[in-house]
Every structure is written in C-alpha cells, then in structure tokens.
Point group: C2
Chain length 206, copies 2
C-alpha cells in the first residue's frame, strides 16, 4: 500500500475534507475542483492542492478530483479501514478520560484496554472497556496485536512502565508523564506535556 508519512497539520485537516467529500458525493457530484473545496472549507487553494497531492495525487485539469477516489484515499490515510489497537497504563483521571474518549477512532486508533497496578481501579471503566492488572498486559498485547502504548502514570514509574511496554512488543509510545524516557532506536516516542502548553499560553499574555 502506497502510504506516506504526512505532516500533522495536513492530517488534522483530513477529517474536514472527508466530511465535505461525503456531502459532495451525496449530492451526486462525481468530480470536484480544488477551488470548490478551498472555498467551501475556508482554506487556501494552494494549501488544498498540497494536502490532496500528499494523500491522493493531483486533480485533472478542468475536471478536478474524482470524488470517490479522493474519498477513499483520505479514508485510507486517516486509517479508518485499518484500526490500530492501543493500550494505556495508569487508569487515573487522565487515563480514564483518554480511555473513554471516542474521538481517537476518527483517526483510526482504538484504545482497547487500560492497565494499572492499583487493584481498586480494575474493571471500572464507565464505557466498559477493560481495566486489567499489569500482569495480564503481555498476553493481552500479543493476542490483540497491540503496538501502541500510552503512559499516564506518574513521573516516578514512567520509565519502568515504558520498559514493560517495550517488553510487550509495543513500538510506539505516547508519554504523558513529565519526564524523558529512554527508548531503543526504532521505537517511536511522542512526549505530551500538557502543563507546558498551558505555561506557553500564559507566557504569551504575561
């Protein structure tokens, strides 16, 4: 499958393109121009052409893009046809908020379970996703082909949780603990620091 890594900014616009293309398709149109897409989505035309070139190729002169093909290409890049399973470790407030958030599915990721060492929180997700003991993690990851792990534990245990995830076959880690993690080459690590985002906002008005 021909699939490039596309920039996060482009990726962020794909759900809007998809939504619009579906209304175009529903209205019976078979082709659509970059100009129409741009004006309907309040985007620049150059921007639209660049985005769509990354996911689908260029439109044809005069006719534009084939709506069905473009829709399929956008869906493919959003990964909606190949849902990836993720797990998270640390079923505290933030962990549970992420576990029960369904917006991830729009981008082709499903957080299928959480793990925690605190027995009190086990099996307690309101959306009935399982919260399990850490001892069950390795088996679960193998059976469900999980390759994405999310760390929502405190700073003190983040590295040991990270090591545990790697041992379970995880190759991409999204870390919410405010600390640096050591991962081997080939593992993708994304550090999320919410406090830092808020601090940066504050600094802009101070």
């Amino acid at each position: 499958m021909d699939k490039k890594i596309i920039p996060k900014t482009t990726l962020g616009r794909l759900p809007r393109y998809l939504q619009y293309l579906k209304t175009v398709s529903a209205s019976g149109c078979k082709t659509i121009s970059a100009t129409s897409i741009a004006s309907n989505l309040f985007l620049g035309e150059v921007q639209v052409r660049k985005d769509l070139a990354l996911v689908s190729g260029a439109g044809k002169p005069k006719t534009g893009y084939d709506v069905d093909r473009l829709t399929q290409d956008v869906e493919r890049h959003l990964g909606q046809h190949e849902m990836a399973s993720a797990i998270l470790v640390g079923a505290g407030k933030l962990g549970k908020a992420l576990l029960d958030y369904y917006g991830f599915r729009e981008f082709g990721v499903d957080i299928v379970a959480a793990f925690d060492c605190n027995e009190k929180v086990l099996n307690s997700s309101p959306m009935s996703k399982p919260i399990m003991s850490l001892t069950e993690m390795k088996d679960f990851c193998k059976k469900n082909n999980v390759r994405i792990g999310i760390i929502t534990v405190g700073q003190g245990s983040a590295q040991s949780v990270c090591d545990l995830l790697l041992d379970c076959g995880i190759i991409a880690i999204w870390n919410f603990a405010p600390c640096n993690l050591n991962v081997p080459n080939g593992v993708v690590l994304k550090q999320e620091n919410l406090a830092l985002s808020l601090a940066h906002l504050k600094n802009q008005i101070s």
Copy 2:
C-alpha cells in the same frame, strides 16, 4: 519586569534547571558554570548557554553564573511568583482530569474553578475545587482576575463557550474541542488536538 516570550522547548527545560540549581545552592556553591550544568543535566553546553541567555543573560568568564540570581530568574520565567488563574468550561472526564492535575502549578498556572451547564456535575471535584454554573462565570472571572480559559466541551458548543469566555474578559484560550474557533485579534488561542497526536504516532509505524 524584563520578560521575553521564550520558546516552548526552552520553557520545558526550566523546571530541570531550577531543580538542579536548588541542589547546587544547598551544597553551598555560589557560582556555577554552563559546563557543569550541561554535564549534570545531560544537555549540550551550547543549548544551556542559549537557554540561560534567554532567561538570565550570559555567565561571567571563569566564574560562570551567580546561583542565586540565576535561580530567581528561572523562577520568574516559570511564573511561580505570579501565579495566573485559569478556569475551564466543561466538567466532563477530561475537564475534571485537568482541574485536579497539580502539575500546572509548577509552571505558574492554577486552574481555580470549572463551569458547566449540567447541574449534576456542579460542586463535585474530588480536590474540592468549585464546579459552578455558567451563569456565575462572569462575576467569578472579574473577582479573581482570570484571563485564561480552557474549553473542554464538545465540538457543537465550543464556539458559544468561547464567545462567553471572551465576554468574561478572558484573553487566552486553550481549546480541546476538535474544531476551529473564531477569536478577535489580540486573543491568544492554542488548539489542542489529542486525537491528532495519537494519529500522527500511528502513521509513523503504519
């Protein structure tokens, strides 16, 4: 007060500098070199000099930085002496997780209250921060000089909540709803899309 807007990456390292400077001060040292700081924090020396030039100025040849002065400058840029108050609207799972997260204080921001239109969630924060009705928001913001607003409601009501916040005197908005917001010039807007971060991570391993 001489205070520049410093890059987010530098800001992110300030808590580490501060922690280290406190141990240096406790050991009785009055001055410290960029070389020592760099080697102790596993950072590049050029990086350290650049960071500290932004918050405090250059060290002196041979003696380096004055530990007390540097500590004060780092603290000032972290804004710990001038805590800013923020409120959030939408006391769902994510809203409550942010409301009760104390890591923001390290960067000089305190989320002091949440607001929601659902009466069932009012007054229910486990950390005993108030969750109030939207009708009380304007008075609260004025009395507490709140200038930062966080939006954790759904996409459908985000713009109306945004307008309400602006009407309350808010000048910086952190939006977690997955949609674009219209704000007037002069208002700082930071769009947070957690689903997008996860999607980007997924695309790097697909």
